[in-house]
């Protein structure tokens, strides 16, 4: 029966109870943690500037002990005020998108579900575009009050409103119909995109340039201020998500069975929906439309460690962060000194990869 255990890893499956992938999952999570640290150091070291990789990494690893002379003033500004916030923001956004995807897929019991699919991203975009276009005129009072927080707050608000409307539409007598929710999500996304279209129509030339670049997705504008605005939202949402892991596992057997197993399904849905809309809203606000992270990362990890959400969620956060940083490194070096919007990189790499996964999985698992 050894050859019928988990495909591809006969050696590891022999070390534990057959069918138990938890040890392998823990190992993968540790390796992903190490990979993320390496990716962050690599991202700090690479870029259009000539701050040399060696000096950046040495400065980081040895800290003040190495002496400040290791970095010139210019290099240290590049590292601390430009690259470091960008790396931190990239990691936060990548983690938020990947783990949100995994939670949505568990909630909808469908490996193709994604925050982009149910209109959360579209709603968040509408919020952000309203500020970009109307922030100087109609919505000027808002900008005056919230300052640099206006854009992320508006995106978060847009995502949250979309999710709440969706929840109202799809819930009858305390039960959420997933089919209605998916369809309503498509309708709401279309409505949000139409309203976004109206705003784009109203925009002037300079705003159009901002909009286009933002919609394609970019981490270029990363500042510590932005991290201060969206970081707490993303971190709070990601701290809430692990509490859904056990419930999402049970939900794989259906809502009724999950409830029979002792899971409070309505509360589970509530936590999942709120944390996903918060995380996605915040991510969209700072980075625009970065696609495919939420679908590709959990898919890859399910192939590797199985669908147990207790391991899938943290692993998705780590791999999402690392992959987005790699994509960003590509985005800012491949056409240096200019840089490509990161959304283009993730789509160019993610879309064919996603198709490949679908083709590979066809016949093994029903999608």
């Amino acid at each position: 029966m050894a050859d019928q255990t988990i495909a591809g890893m006969p050696g590891i499956s022999r070390m534990m109870a057959a069918g138990d992938r938890s040890s392998r999952a823990r190992l993968v999570i540790c390796l992903l943690g190490v990979a993320l640290v390496i990716t962050m150091l690599f991202s700090l070291a690479s870029g259009a500037s000539d701050a040399s990789a060696a000096s950046v990494v040495r400065n980081w690893l040895l800290g003040a002990a190495a002496g400040t002379e290791a970095l010139s003033v210019r290099d240290s500004i590049i590292v601390y005020d430009i690259r470091l916030p960008r790396v931190v923001l990239g990691a936060l956004v990548g983690a938020a998108l990947a783990v949100s995807g995994a939670v949505m897929q568990g909630l909808f019991r469908n490996p193709l579900a994604d925050p982009g699919l149910i209109g959360v991203s579209a709603g968040a975009s509408l919020g952000a575009v309203s500020i970009i276009v109307l922030g100087g005129t109609m919505l000027a009072p808002l900008s005056a009050v919230f300052g640099t927080f206006t854009l992320p707050l508006a995106a978060f608000f847009g995502g949250l409103v979309t999710t709440l409307v969706l929840y109202q539409v799809a819930t009858r007598q305390g039960r959420t119909s997933v089919a209605t929710m998916l369809l309503a999500g498509i309708a709401l996304a279309a409505l949000a995109m139409a309203l976004t279209g109206v705003l784009i129509f109203m925009a002037d030339d300079r705003q159009l340039r901002d909009l286009t670049f933002w919609q394609l997705g970019s981490l270029a504008g990363a500042t510590w201020q932005k991290i201060g605005a969206v970081g707490p939202i993303i971190l709070a949402a990601m701290l809430a998500m692990p509490f859904t892991a056990r419930g999402l596992n049970a939900l794989a057997l259906g809502e009724a069975t999950a409830s029979h197993l002792g899971i409070s399904v309505q509360r589970l849905k509530y936590i999942a929906i709120l944390s996903v809309s918060a995380a996605v809203g915040a991510a969209v606000a700072v980075s625009g439309g970065i696609g495919f992270v939420g679908i590709v990362v959990p898919h890859l990890l399910r192939l590797l460690i199985g669908p147990d959400n207790r391991y899938l969620l943290p692993a998705s956060a780590l791999l999402g962060a690392a992959l987005l940083l790699l994509a960003d490194a590509v985005a800012r070096t491949i056409v240096s000194p200019a840089e490509l919007p990161i959304g283009i990189v993730t789509a160019l790499a993610g879309a064919p990869f996603f198709l490949w996964i679908l083709l590979r999985k066809r016949g093994i698992v029903d999608l």
Binding site: T5, P111, N249, A256, S259, H260, I263, G306
Partner: protein, 262 residues
């Protein structure tokens, strides 16, 4: 004891089940029989908290309607007719989900090995590492039963009897496994738990049921021991099919009854 008084269930405006009185006692197997669409599954779903109902249901003297999912999960486990799975879990991972919210009643160290023991019980030893979706329908049904058994592994906890709800547990099983599964139910009852089972096979019902509830068009047509209930007239009335209880086939035609199992 599970006690239902005057339970009715409506889905939309349609009344599916009306005014059912039902009891499931610890130490006994209570079976529900009846034609397709007579309301057996709907009533069981009311008992398991899945459908809203009018009337009163008490589990061990506590009102079912006031129970949180986690509390109910500690008192009963439910085997549905069919289970679909959305992600590629292994057999062991599925069975272990039985331990997610309920109380198996075994020591923490033992719980680690419970999936293997439950799988051995349903005659699936060595299947732990297989993918659930690659199994046959009958094997999948037995995996689900192993999961359900994990949830209420000890039939009595803190003096409280616990219950197995089984909706057509043997519908896709061969005769050997039908008997294995029914014997698991009987064993669970003998050790102090209660079993509520929906069955279609009247011979298995006669063989294993302590009490039979006969459903007909959403109401209770009869209730009692197999001797009291399995009568020619009632069967004809309910199933619309002229059958004679205890009659042998004419001539030398072979027949095999589960009762003949040695």
């Amino acid at each position: 004891m599970i006690e239902a008084r005057g339970v009715s269930v409506s889905i939309g405006k349609k009344c599916i089940v009306s005014d059912i009185d039902f009891e499931a006692r610890p130490g006994e197997i209570a079976t529900m029989v009846g034609p397709n669409g007579s309301g057996k599954t709907t009533f069981l779903k009311a008992l398991s908290g899945e459908h809203a109902y009018t009337g009163h249901v008490a589990v061990n003297g506590r009102d079912l309607a006031a129970m949180a999912p986690a509390q109910a999960a500690g008192l009963r486990a439910v085997l549905p007719q069919a289970t679909t799975l959305s992600f590629p879990f292994t057999v062991r991972e599925i069975v272990k989900l039985g331990l997610v919210g309920g109380r198996s009643g075994v020591m923490p160290g033992e719980a680690e090995r419970l999936p293997e023991r439950a799988l051995a019980k349903v005659d699936l030893e060595g299947f732990a590492g297989r993918f659930y979706q690659e199994l046959s329908g009958g094997e999948q049904q037995r995996v689900q039963l192993a999961r359900v058994l994990c949830q209420v592994w000890t039939p009595i906890i803190d003096g409280q009897p616990r219950y197995l709800f089984l909706d057509e547990p043997v519908s896709s099983l061969d005769i050997k496994h039908q008997l294995i599964i029914m014997n698991i139910a009987r064993d669970f009852a003998r050790r102090g738990g209660g079993v509520v089972a929906i069955l279609h096979d009247l011979n298995l019902t006669a063989m294993f049921a302590d009490r039979i509830y006969v459903m007909h068009r959403g109401t209770l047509a009869a209730a009692g021991t197999p001797h009291e209930v399995l009568r020619d007239r009632l069967i004809e009335q309910v199933f619309g099919c002229r059958l004679r209880v205890g009659a042998l086939p004419a001539g030398n035609a072979p027949f095999v009854l589960p009762q003949s199992a040695l």
